[in-house]
């Protein structure tokens, strides 16, 4: 086999870097044709478009010369979307009827069924992803999902966010520790303490940003309070614009920072059998990509989108590596896969995609 992707053998351990072979120009043609078909069919074709999009990104993500593959059934995706759309319509009707009770009832219901929806999405996504002819699968139970999302989610709300790292850790562990590649289990070992460390750094940055923006608001209101006579309302407008602009900056600085730290935390503490993962995504890399993507999207009224997502996918792939003790050739298929390659036996739960 082709081992040219292998680098830096350390002892028996080999490093495999992910790479991405897609290009914005290629993806643009796929995207635009599928988008047009989706619009012309009032959204129905969008399920087929989603399959194609994921196939594009999976097959162009290479690991040790092999690409990933996506097997999702568009009908299952369509059914999931219809369900979510139905809930959205009910929510809108509830909102329009003006009855707050009804709105809260719908939101409460969505919150209660969210563990089922999340588990369904994770199952569908995992089972329909393969690498080297072997499928992934997700074995999380509904009870675990309920504890991780409803239980820890409520705790986060009650503690006004103080329990957020605990909730995030539980949710990440649920997603990772129930994920299998063939017969091999992923395992995430990041502790709640690790999450609190990242959380504190993010919180510190947010407080700093808040303090500065409150300062800006205060300064722009000073003239109105009569401290500086003769100032026109333009001063207020400038203050507001300044604050809005500042929030944009905060959004672009703290967002990428939080995303990169959490992503690295999960992957750098995860294993798959004798494989370790190395994620080196940096906030400044993401920041540069998001800023230039935003600029491109504004200048092209949104038509830059395919290039934007391809750039992000490439960045992520190129900053992820595997340290494999003993190579990648010894994974074995999950028993279920032997029964039927398409997994039709379990089709009842596999055939509904709730991932958006």
């Amino acid at each position: 086999m082709d081992l040219s992707e292998t680098h830096d053998a350390v002892g028996n351990t080999q490093e495999y870097r992910l790479s991405f072979t897609g290009s914005g120009g290629d993806y643009f043609r796929i995207w635009i044709v599928n988008l047009l078909l989706s619009i012309c069919t009032l959204g129905i074709y969008s399920a087929w478009a989603k399959v194609r999009r994921l196939q594009y990104f999976h097959r162009n993500t290479l690991l040790a010369g092999s690409g990933f593959d996506y097997h999702g059934n568009p009908v299952g995706i369509l059914k999931g979307r219809l369900l979510v759309f139905g809930i959205f319509v009910i929510y809108q009707v509830a909102g329009f009827s003006g009855s707050l009770g009804l709105v809260y009832a719908v939101l409460g219901l969505v919150f209660l069924i969210s563990p089922w929806m999340i588990r369904q999405a994770l199952r569908f996504r995992a089972w329909n992803t393969s690498y080297r002819g072997l499928r992934f699968h997700f074995a999380g139970t509904l009870g675990e999902a309920f504890r991780a999302y409803v239980g820890r989610g409520l705790a986060t709300a009650i503690t006004l966010g103080l329990a957020a790292p605990w909730a995030m850790q539980g949710q990440a562990r649920y997603k990772m520790n129930n994920l299998f590649f063939g017969q091999s289990n992923f395992e995430m070992t990041a502790t709640v303490g690790d999450y609190y460390k990242v959380f504190l750094k993010i919180l510190g940055l947010m407080l700093l940003a808040l303090a500065i923006s409150f300062g800006a608001i205060f300064l722009s209101y000073l003239p109105m309070a009569g401290f500086a006579p003769g100032v026109t309302p333009d001063g207020v407008a400038i203050g507001i614009i300044g604050v809005v602009a500042f929030y944009f900056v905060v959004f672009f600085l703290i967002g990428p920072y939080a995303w990169s730290r959490l992503l690295n935390l999960v992957w750098n503490n995860s294993t798959l059998g004798r494989i370790r993962f190395v994620s080196t995504v940096r906030a400044r890399g993401l920041l540069w990509i998001s800023l230039t993507n935003l600029l491109g999207l504004i200048l092209t009224l949104g038509f830059y989108w395919p290039w934007a997502v391809v750039r992000l996918a490439r960045y992520r792939a190129e900053h992820t590596a595997l340290l494999a003790d003993g190579g990648l050739d010894d994974f074995l298929a999950h028993a279920e896969q032997d029964v039927g390659a398409t997994g039709e036996e379990a089709a009842d739960w596999l055939d509904l995609d709730l991932g958006l």
Partner: protein
């Protein structure tokens, strides 16, 4: 013959094989023996997507990964395989350009005609109780935050109400309406139509008017909103535009999506204002009053609000410029 990596579906170990086409079947040979043999129609040939390896999914599990695009393409061609219509379309540059033009045309037509028509269709089917309920909720919200009970004497209120009730609407029957008086120190002179038929008139506007006919003109404008069910329709248009813009830009930036929705929605709102102005002008004439009264009222309102916050850029403005509205009213003289 084309080189490929074969995975048997049981382990992740690759085997180098040669693919060939023989007697109507795809053959996998590892150099010594034929490992698999399948009629081409049983093989799930995936599309070539980008530069990644192309996959042949074999029946009963197992997959072949091929890096040699051209070699595989000619092998498949020899076997009588043809790419699907969409797969071919995705490779065409001309089609991509045509698709951009078509998308822009669809978006423009949808904004110009599609959204208003769709909103009208839905509006006609929304139960009246639901609309009334939404109006009541809005009124409660306004009462809680912006409005105070009216301080106008009861007799004055009654006089204005009966004066307006005596006016005949221009298009047959009047829409259902109810006139409410409120004081609005923060909002100032204003009047608005709520979904379901309520028309709110502020004490400040009553005080501002030098002639009751100016008030009648403003009320006729609000009755126009009720006649065309503008409240409900603009809410529905807002939902549709918001959903479309969020679908297009939501992943990029919600702020950008919100701003675009506001700009796009404001143009609909300005059209509604013009419609209501026309309705009011016709109503005034129908009752042998001059449409000049509306122009006077608009001017007075503009002066009353001048210097307050009127720095809204015209793109975001929900109302057309007063000068433009007054100019448009001249047609009705």
């Amino acid at each position: 013959m084309v080189e490929a990596r074969y995975f048997d579906g049981r382990s992740s170990r690759p085997r180098a094989v040669l693919l060939d086409w023989q007697d109507g079947a795809l053959m996998l040979n590892d150099g010594e023996e034929t490992l698999r043999r399948h009629p081409l129609q049983e093989v799930d040939v995936t599309e070539q997507l980008g530069d990644g390896p192309r996959l042949l999914r074999l029946p009963g599990g197992g997959v072949c990964e091929v890096d040699d695009r051209e070699g595989l393409a000619s092998l498949l061609q020899a076997g009588g395989y043809r790419d699907g219509l969409v797969a071919r379309g995705q490779r065409s540059l001309l089609l991509a350009v045509l698709a951009i033009v078509a998308l822009i045309a669809i978006a423009a037509a949808g904004y110009q005609w599609g959204v208003p028509i769709a909103a009208d269709l839905v509006a006609a089917r929304v139960p009246e109780e639901l609309v009334a309920r939404s109006g009541e909720e809005t009124l409660e919200l306004l009462d809680d935050h912006w409005l105070r009970p009216s301080r106008l004497p009861g007799a004055r209120r009654e006089a204005l109400r009966s004066q307006f009730a005596a006016l005949r609407p221009p298009d047959g029957e009047a829409p259902h309406w109810r006139l409410l008086f409120r004081a609005a120190p923060q909002v100032g002179a204003n009047a608005f139509a709520l979904p379901g038929g309520d028309i709110v008139l502020t004490d400040e506007l009553v005080a501002l008017a030098r002639d009751d006919r100016e008030i009648m003109a403003v009320l006729a404008h609000e009755l126009g909103h009720q006649h065309y069910r503008h409240g409900l329709r603009s809410a529905l248009q807002g939902i549709i535009v918001g959903a479309a813009v969020t679908a297009w830009l939501g992943d990029v930036s919600t702020a950008l999506a919100g701003l675009s929705s506001a700009v796009l929605g404001a143009r609909y709102s300005r059209e509604f204002e013009r419609e209501a102005d026309t309705y009011a002008a016709r109503m005034l004439q129908h009752n042998n009053l001059s449409s000049e009264w509306l122009a006077t009222a608009l001017q007075r309102l503009e002066q009353a609000h001048a210097g307050k916050v009127d720095g809204t850029p015209s793109l975001l403005s929900t109302h057309p410029h007063t000068a433009e509205r007054i100019e448009a009213l001249k047609v009705h003289r």
